[in-house]
């Protein structure tokens, strides 16, 4: 309305190109082949952008891209890619192992006579953002819930009230990434420092 009248001209369409970036390695998909996660990248692309996948990974396009390199350079590039992939796989396996081993403790702590708080320790090792989880807890249980620093410098979530069992159930239902076997409810009697 006012735009046309004030001489600035009609609003212009955005001119920026929209580029697709790989959901796995974050590069433009045509560069995925140089990272260590090609296999995963390809799976992602096939699912998310089938047309682009077809363009990049059809047999003819792969051949065309290789033919400009000398045989020697091709071999070197291939070896390099294999090494990278092996490294990425190893680090992922380590990550998985760590996750599988990381315990989550739900600790009932007695504050005053029959006043309890519930501390949840170790969720961050399963890729959860504590602040968000604390908010979820607070909403779900309608209670005070916050992220607190412990004496040892790590973060934990502290909820007001004795909610161990409820929290246990909520975690197993909501955060599927946390294996139930890793969850443990423990009790902290008064003034027992840990």
């Amino acid at each position: 309305m006012a735009d046309a009248a004030n001489g600035e001209g009609a609003p212009v369409e955005p001119q920026a190109r929209k580029v697709v970036y790989c959901g796995v390695c974050s590069l433009p998909p045509e560069y995925c082949e140089f990272g260590g996660t090609v296999k995963k990248c390809k799976e992602w692309l096939e699912d998310a952008h089938p047309d682009l996948f077809e363009r990049l990974y059809s047999e003819s396009s792969v051949e065309a891209s290789l033919s400009t390199l000398s045989l020697d350079a091709q071999k070197r590039a291939e070896r390099d890619a294999q090494k990278k992939a092996a490294r990425a796989e190893a680090s992922e396996a380590r990550e998985q192992e760590k996750k599988a081993a990381a315990k989550v403790y739900i600790k009932r702590i007695e504050r005053n006579k029959r006043k309890y708080v519930t501390a949840v320790i170790g969720l961050e090792a399963h890729g959860l953002e504590l602040k968000k989880v604390a908010k979820d807890f607070g909403k779900k249980f309608a209670t005070g819930s916050s992220v607190t620093k412990t004496a040892s410098g790590t973060d934990e979530i502290v909820l007001q009230g004795d909610l161990s069992d409820e929290v246990y159930d909520f975690i197993t239902e909501t955060y599927k990434g946390v294996p139930e076997d890793n969850l443990e409810c423990i009790e902290d009697k008064k003034k027992k420092s840990g």
Partner: protein, 185 residues
Amino acid sequence: MFKKDINPAKKTKVKSSAQRALRSKLCDSYPLLAPYIDEIIPKKSQLDVMKLPDFATLYSLESHPLFVEIEKKGADDIFLPHLKLVHAFPHCFKRVQIDRGAIRFVLSGAALMAPGLTSPGGRLPPAEEALKPGEVVAVGAEGKDEICLIGILKMGTEEMKEKKKGVVMDEGHYLGDGLWKLSVE
């Protein structure tokens, strides 16, 4: 230059007067970008700034990194666009091309070497459009659509053609480097 991962620092707001100055400096550095400056940095927007290592500062708009200002001793600061901005407006930047074999070296943070540009898969501008040392240049790659590196030339393009060896660029921002991975959310 941004080979290592960068720990995000605190973002602060850019004053509106500084933001206006910035807009005009950007347009001076990249005249071809000027027609789009209102889209990149809308007049009423609020830019954020974040200190990076090595006398560099990153400007961003909301969650979009835009460009890095690099302090140069005894010379004007250099404005290096973030690759996401280059991908959005690729034709606004001077461009050369490396051959396929050089891609993996560039993406692992190695200095750019002349043979990667002078070989059959590479591409350099003709003599009348020669690029000089100190210019910011986007580097494309044989068989690829998108720019994989942007940086400051160390050797002019005519000299490259002549010598066919040596370091061509060792200050730049490449796909997957610390700057690429830095989140400004």
